[in-house]
Symmetry: none
Subunit: 124 residues, 4 copies
């Protein structure tokens, strides 16, 4: 996990975001245990309270659960198809960029050209 302390994005949000992506992508599976609060705080050189806040948020959203014995675990995701959820996220972001391009008077054809250029540079 990587934290960009300069980005202006709250640290606890950077943590939750990355864990969510890991769950959606399958890197974390149901039952997997998250790093301990202390462990993550030391690793990222941030305040443990910040990690606690991030983990609490994930718990509130039903993505993880904490066991009394200790530790935070990934829950099986309802709503089933995680691929569909992933694609939903991506489509919404594309929509936003295309809207912005529209405000900048970039034509549909030009948008596509720019997109293909970027995409072609990508591996896999």
């Amino acid at each position: 996990m990587k934290i960009d302390i300069q980005s202006g994005i709250p640290i606890y949000l950077q943590i939750t975001e990355q864990i969510k992506l890991s769950v959606l992508s399958g890197r974390y599976r149901s039952g997997d245990r998250l790093p301990s609060v202390r462990e993550l705080a030391v690793g990222l050189r941030i305040n443990p309270n910040t990690v606690v806040k991030a983990y609490q948020m994930l718990k509130d959203e039903g993505i993880t659960d904490s066991r009394p014995g200790g530790g935070n675990f990934v829950l099986a995701q309802e709503g089933g198809d995680m691929t569909a959820q992933s694609e939903d996220i991506i489509m919404k972001e594309f929509q936003a960029v295309i809207d912005k391009a529209g405000m900048l008077n970039v034509s549909k054809e030009r948008i596509n050209k720019l997109f293909q250029k970027i995409l072609s540079e990508r591996k896999g």
Copy 2:
């Protein structure tokens, strides 16, 4: 200009963002005068100080200049081609979304399919 007070995005940033886009898209041209602080504040139903903050940010970034008793004026933009600048912005945003899709293990072909679906729904 439209402001979303609920969005969590600071109002002064929403203002600067929209004015920047207006400059890049050619809606504002060099020498044009922005609405006065008080005028815009009344129009958006926000505090004049918030507009002042937005305008000073634009001034700091060299996009506008202001004179007490005068007003706020759009400056000629260096870096020349504003179309190129616009496309630069768009490409960077596409890059970010594609990167994210990569983290979610969405294949190149699937990404393109999703994108074309969104783009086809757009007018113009």
Copy 3:
């Protein structure tokens, strides 16, 4: 006369300052007529009201006087020795710079060295 509209220093102050210097240096002598308000405003491309304000200020300070018939004229300066006045101004400014150098922990010897370097580059 030259005006720097970017400098942040109020235009009317730039005008009064330069006229004062001209009087002290002898470029303007007692009885000389200042440029007319219109003339100066057009020449500097500024608002005539700004020139009026500057001239009024000079009048308030007893440096000039306006005649009902029209025109602003330089008055004989009391306090006699204008050379002394000039040197007073310069000494106060040196004092300020030397104080600042002190705050920056620049030694007396170093200050003098820097000063001599600058002075030697000057003509006359």
Copy 4:
């Protein structure tokens, strides 16, 4: 830190100026923490918002960085040698005074005489 509320110079500029000088002179070093907004506001008997404005200006100029919940910290200064920077500032100010003296028809020799007089009164 001392503030002169009568001087006409904006308070927030007086603050930024003094902190910049402190950084250049080495009184503040990289990583040092500035007084908190509230602390400084109370100490100077001014409004916290005024301090906020000063601190944000320092941040904009890359002299400090801030983190909500953290505080304001001095950043390592690029451009390396701070002594050189200090002397640069001083030399530019000397240049300005000497130029002004020139406009007042003060001779090179006389300028030097005045300067030495002021400098000799200085301790250190």
